[in-house]
């Protein structure tokens, strides 16, 4: 197979899929083309879309590549689809997600000890949105479920990999605050109840 033909097939694959496709997945289809060539053909397509000023781009996300419209067309697309924005995640969901993203594998009580509130409802909705998944059970008393983020999580935030998350140290202090974590980590259950109480009445 010539590279020109392989490039066209890759374009067709990327065009048809709305999920990111990995180089390995492409390799499975093309067989005779090696991963390195596939990678450079993708790069080639990326550059071409760029230089031709196409309205779409080829972006690496969640361990694969995905074609999507360029951000500057957002307002026009929203006008067309008559929506202001996609369903955004609530603050509670975002916080819980961040904790899971940084702390994974993580169990519910750890999240709750950080957020200081019950997260059962939030976890349920995140699972439903497929932004998180159950990775197994922790071999401790009660055998609690272990949570982690999914590829959909990466996609939703346009991340190539978890390593693209801002480093904990880079984060502005209080917010998803490591200090507080350290505090509560050591904290007993009683501490937390107190914390909740303050929160409630504050």
């Amino acid at each position: 197979m010539e590279l020109q033909e392989a490039r066209a097939i890759i374009e067709a694959l990327l065009f048809s899929a709305d999920k990111p496709i990995s180089v390995e997945q492409i390799k499975e289809v093309l067989e005779e083309i090696d991963s390195k060539s596939i990678q450079s053909l993708i790069k080639n397509l990326q550059d071409e879309y760029e230089s031709q000023g196409r309205s779409f781009q080829l972006v690496e996300v969640a361990g694969g590549f995905r074609m999507s419209t360029r951000p500057q067309f957002g307002p026009w697309l929203k006008k067309f689809y008559k929506v202001r924005h996609r369903e955004r995640l609530t603050a509670a969901s975002l916080e819980t997600l961040s904790i899971i993203a940084y702390k994974q594998p993580v169990i519910r009580s750890e999240i709750e000890s950080i957020r200081g509130v019950d997260v059962a409802g939030v976890l349920h909705s995140l699972l439903e949105k497929r932004l998180i998944r159950v990775m197994g059970r922790k071999m401790i008393l009660g055998r609690p479920l272990i949570y982690g983020t999914t590829d959909e999580f990466l996609e939703h935030f346009g991340l190539r990999a978890l390593s693209e998350l801002p480093k904990m140290e880079e984060l502005v202090k209080p917010q998803i605050n490591t200090d507080s974590h350290r505090n509560t980590d050591k904290g007993t259950k009683d501490d937390e109840v107190k914390y909740i109480a303050t929160d409630e009445h504050g």
């Binding site: 067709a12 065009f15 048809s16 899929a17 709305d18 999920k19 074609m67």
Partner: protein, 236 residues
């Protein structure tokens, strides 16, 4: 027989008539009514014998055919004037031709549909849907199957009456297992190969019913290389 195959008969009496006309290479405008009626009834007979759900329409058409036949056989002097002028087959022929046009239109649509299968839009749902649904295609018609079965029966010979001596339910189940075993050894077999060595007509009927049941269960699929050609049975 207690075992009833739930295979839907999509084809109707008009399909059967068109099928026979094509198979026998007849001229649709000049249908030899007696011959076609005889064959038509033979198919109904087989369907009934197999305990297939023969829709009422098939019986209505049988009556229509026999009526036409009787009118064609009547001496001219016994006919009313207007009856003389019109060929008693005219109405049926008109209906067949009209129907045939739509069958042709359906064929064209099918070609379009197959063309579209090569085209993918940017829809993830579709892709997901695609991988779940493995479309099933009954590529030979029920009449092709009945026709093949009727040939198998004829090959055995004499019109020995069918006896209801067996517990079909278990037997059909056994046959199903048999057939699947055969298809495990070879991925596809000719329709007739399933009947090789069977001398008992009842066993043949049961084998046929088992094949129908497997088609319904989408365990096997039947194909013909060409129209009216040999039927081949494939494991799904």
């Amino acid at each position: 027989m207690s075992f009833k195959v739930q295979l839907e008969i999509f084809e109707g009496p008009l399909d059967l008539l068109l099928y026979l006309i094509k198979k026998e290479e007849l001229d649709i405008y000049h249908i030899p009514i007696a011959r076609i009626t005889e064959q038509y009834l033979e198919y109904i007979h087989i369907m009934k014998m197999l305990n297939l759900d023969v829709a009422g329409e098939f019986l209505v058409m049988a009556a229509t055919l026999m009526h036409i036949k009787s009118r064609l056989l009547l001496p001219e002097e016994e006919l009313e004037e207007e009856e003389l002028e019109e060929d008693p087959r005219a109405e049926l022929v008109k209906q067949l031709i009209e129907y045939q046009k739509f069958k042709e239109a359906a064929e064209r649509l099918k070609a379009k549909e197959i063309e579209q299968e090569e085209i993918f839009t940017r829809s993830g749902d579709e892709a997901a849907e695609l991988s779940q649904k493995e479309g099933f295609l009954l590529e030979a018609s029920l009449f092709d199957l009945l026709s093949a079965f009727s040939n198998v029966l004829k090959a055995v010979g004499e019109k020995e009456e069918f006896t209801e001596i067996m517990e079909e339910e278990t037997t059909v189940k056994e046959k199903i297992r048999n057939i699947m075993d055969m298809l495990r050894v070879k991925a596809s077999l000719n329709f007739t190969e399933f009947f090789v060595g069977l001398v008992n007509r009842v066993e043949m009927v049961v084998t046929f019913l088992a094949l129908l049941e497997l088609i319904r269960l989408k365990e096997i699929k039947i194909r013909q290389a060409r129209r009216f050609g040999e039927i081949r049975v494939y494991k799904q």
